[in-house]
């Protein structure tokens, strides 16, 4: 049965099945949007936290590290409580939309982007900071210099975050509702097909997801190599 399913999944892949393409497109659209928003928030936050000394910094880092382990269902529940009909943002009618998934995923990966950016910035030689300042840079200009020097590490942070959201299922299911052609992502579609006992589409989507995961890891390791200065 497995072999038959694999064969059918292969045919589905090479035939560019319309439903499958739509699911992949929704997944990519939602994941790219949430990664972009998280990068816009997480990277500057990471730079500011890494470069400044302030009271409670250690606590802030501990909280961020704790948030890395936040289960997707907890985020799903939390966001649901705000955007459900009776929630504070109920009138905005966000529940079971792609925007709802994006909000949940952004909350999921902001700690990922921030902590990995902090780590990337902290690895940068302190002399860069001193050199930029003595050459007349303002704090913002100095931060930009450091970000430029840490670019491979920061890009790796963003890629890791994308890898996290493309493969998550809890938030997409709870906040998106798995509506066909609208909020159905690769992972929610796979869960549904499994429930139905039909593995063909699930296996085909699984193959695509694995290909994404492989590509992301490949990029991640390439960038890690650049950070260490390896010849890649």
């Amino acid at each position: 049965m497995i072999l038959d399913s694999l064969h059918s999944a292969f045919l589905l892949l090479v035939s560019w099945d319309a439903e499958m393409i739509e699911i992949v497109a929704v997944s990519l659209r939602v994941s790219c949007a949430s990664t972009l928003v998280a990068a816009l928030v997480g990277v500057p936050s990471g730079v500011v936290i890494a470069l400044n000394r302030f009271p409670g910094k250690r606590l802030c880092l501990t909280v961020l590290n704790t948030l890395l382990a936040l289960p997707t269902v907890v985020i799903g529940l939390l966001v649901y409580s705000f955007i459900s009909r009776r929630g504070v943002f109920g009138p905005l009618e966000l529940l079971y939309t792609q925007k709802a998934i994006i909000i949940g995923q952004v909350i999921l990966i902001i700690p990922v982007v921030t902590t990995l950016t902090i780590a990337a910035i902290s690895r940068i030689d302190r002399r860069y900071r001193r050199t930029a300042l003595t050459l007349g840079a303002t704090s913002v200009q100095m931060g930009w210099v450091i970000l430029k020097e840490a670019r491979f590490g920061v890009m790796a942070a963003v890629i890791a975050a994308f890898g996290r959201v493309i493969a998550e299922v809890g938030i997409s299911m709870m906040l998106g509702g798995n509506a066909k052609g609208f909020t159905r992502t690769m992972t929610t579609a796979m869960a549904l097909e499994y429930d139905k006992g039909e593995f063909v589409l699930a296996i085909a989507l699984g193959a695509i997801l694995l290909t994404f995961a492989f590509s992301i890891n490949l990029m991640f390791h390439f960038l890690q190599g650049r950070i260490r200065g390896d010849d890649v």
Partner: protein, 344 residues
Amino acid sequence: MMFELHNLTRQYGGNTVLSLPRLSFSARKIYALRGANGAGKSTLLNLLALLDRPSAGTIRFRGEPVVYESAALTRMRRRIVLVDQNPIMFTGTVWSNVEYGLKVRKLSAKQRELRVTGALERVDMRAFATADARTLSGGEGKRVALARALALDPEVLLCDEPTANVDREHQEAMLKILVHANELNHTTIIFATHDISHSNRIAHETVVLQHGRVNTDRQLNWYGVHLRKTEGGSHQIVFAENAVLETGPFPAGISYTRGQRVHLSPHLLSLQRPGWAEYGNGKHPNLPGTITGIQADKAGIRVVVDVAVSIDVLLSSQEYESFRPSVGERILVEVPPDAVIFDP
């Protein structure tokens, strides 16, 4: 005054690494900071560059107190540049590195081009303009770092060991660049060095640091000694166990029982070769030793003699030409009575 430091201390983890009750640096001069590793030279340079803040005390720059929280700090910092001992290059070309400080000051492209070209030519690195800055050797990197600072035409140029890890030919070039910047642009230069010859040659003043404090002894041939009167009635100044100077009667009020500080005036001392009195009159008491260094500086030719303690003897050019001392030579340092000054 360019800098005035008052009751300044810097502590790291409870350890005081710098303690300067009062120190000032005049404008348009070249200062050398000398001292062993850990003496506080780099800490002082970081404080003067306004990259670090003192644990206590104040710094005034051009009469204005430095306030670290203010937006004015960047404006003040833009008048001072520090060149690190091991400078780091930003990702990019040599040109973009030298241009960086000009860009943050929002100079026009035309001005930037003129300044970068000029600065690279001054350090003889024009040919490397398009090279990847991170592929430069240590010496080349130092020259580019100096160009990066000179392009900004700062009021104060701070250099941490500018000639360390640089070959002899380029050491000379680096020193000439510093002197040139001082003479032509009136840049105040403060540089840390281990090399006594460099400080003596180009510095107008030398500040010697020891364990985070200014040490005035080494600057001026000052020594902590013991005085004694022998049974035969002669008077002796004991610099060390085997460095004893027979001298005339001590001035009134000098104590024999506790330590005393004496100064030997470098320009009143003279040299004599053991066994013959070709130079000097041979009538004065002397201390035998070995020549450990000879440097030309603004005051004349400085001969450093190790007599168990290090004594600087200052010769005129004529005296040097006629005597021709050489490093490693055994020598007698002749000390006439008027060369000895007792700390009151």
